[in-house]
Amino acid sequence: MFPYQKEGTLKDGSRVILRPLVKEDRDKLLDFFRRVDDRDLMFLRNDVRDPATIDDWVNHIDYSKVFPLVAEADGKIVGDATLHMRKVGWKRHLGNVRIVIAKDYQNKGLGTLMINELIDLAAEFGLEKLVAEVHLLATPALNLFKKAGFAAKAVFEDLVKDQSGQRGDLVVMVCEVLARERRGL
């Protein structure tokens, strides 16, 4: 069922399984997004609580375009991080990273574990830089990416809007993939 997987340990000693998303994860992924806070989903481009969105995702998995990494604990998805790639064009050496962590798994080191895994995979895929877009007020996310080796490169004032229409500043963060001393290549 799962092409491959790896175990990771969180700060509290609990274990999670890291693996790519597979078609059979449809119900687990839908359940995950329904448990996540609204604020944690506002940066996503799709309505991930709509079963049609998840159906579309799991039925069109192409790991060479989007590598969806999930973290699973006790049979439930507790984290979803995606690496978006382009095969051609002037951004073909770049990857974009997005991450959503279940509320009860935040501040346990799961975000760091998943971002580190995605950076290592990015190196494996031949990417040179990773880009993350974060709301200026999303301090935990800013800290997570900074800790993983991302640096803020630009701030766009009043660029994004939350569900209520409130405007916010967007921080663009970049990670030099091979500048990090990582293992496994």
Partner: protein, 245 residues
């Protein structure tokens, strides 16, 4: 002495056979393997057999060490991890014993050889600050040339007499090296090149004329891909071979 430099074979027997066939015509005195015989591709035993048959002077790479140590393997990314777990199940006990004997660093006449850097099999020489640090190590050891692998990309770094550190373009012609400069030389990867050229890469170092010649040979990529897919390894490992990434 004419030294053939090979690195990062990664269980690709189709590529290794073509490189060895090319080396038969090169009149080399010694073949030096800069590590990572195993991992990623599907024929580790065949590659180890050929390495031993040719009496290749070999170093340990991070994948060779991870095959022997599950804790190291767990620090690999998902794809590399899957491949090394598979390799561990395949590699014959006598070859595992052989891998345990491989040194991390090797000093020869006028050169130092390592997999990643002289101080770590895991670290890279990709950026200027990394190259500069290795030149400092090299000078402290009173060596002039360091051969390294790990990045799967051919590279030629120099440090001139004034201390300037930079890279030179890797050309297909033989490159004469400056007698008073220091060099870091990466021959590229035999079994999984990542510099856009999918051919199996190697290099010939001649210490008498002080030159380096980067070379590559085509091989049956489709056969290597079939082996990967048949072994149930991640599809990406097959796809990347044809793209040289």
């Amino acid at each position: 002495m004419r030294l053939a430099l090979i690195s990062d074979i990664h269980s690709n027997i189709q590529a290794l056979e073509q490189v060895m066939a090319a080396l038969r015509r090169e009149r080399v005195d010694q073949v030096l393997n800069l590590g990572d015989v195993v991992g990623y591709n599907a024929n580790p035993n065949e590659c180890l057999e050929l390495i031993l048959e040719w009496k290749v002077l070999s170093l340990a790479g991070n994948h060779d060490l991870a095959l022997l140590d599950p804790d190291r393997a767990r620090r690999f990314n998902l794809i590399a991890y899957q491949a090394i777990v598979w390799s561990r199940e395949q590699v014959r006990p006598e070859f595992q014993e052989y891998l345990q004997t491989l040194p991390l660093v090797l000093e020869g006449p006028g050169y130092l050889a390592c997999h990643g850097t002289p101080t770590s099999t895991d670290h890279y020489i990709s950026y200027h600050f990394q190259g500069k640090a290795v030149f400092n190590t090299l000078r402290a050891l009173r060596q002039q040339v360091c051969f390294f692998g790990h990045t799967h990309r051919r590279a030629l770094w120099y440090r001139d007499v004034r201390g300037k550190v930079a890279t030179l373009p890797v050309s297909p012609e033989k490159i004469r090296l400056e007698p008073s400069w220091h060099y870091l030389i990466n021959p590229g990867s035999v079994g999984q090149p990542r510099d856009g050229n999918p051919d199996a890469a190697y290099a010939i170092f001649d210490d008498e004329e002080f030159s380096i010649h980067f070379k590559s040979v085509p091989y049956d990529i489709a056969a290597a891909q079939r082996c990967i897919l048949k072994a149930g390894l991640p599809d990406f490992l097959a796809e990347r071979l044809v793209q040289g990434i």
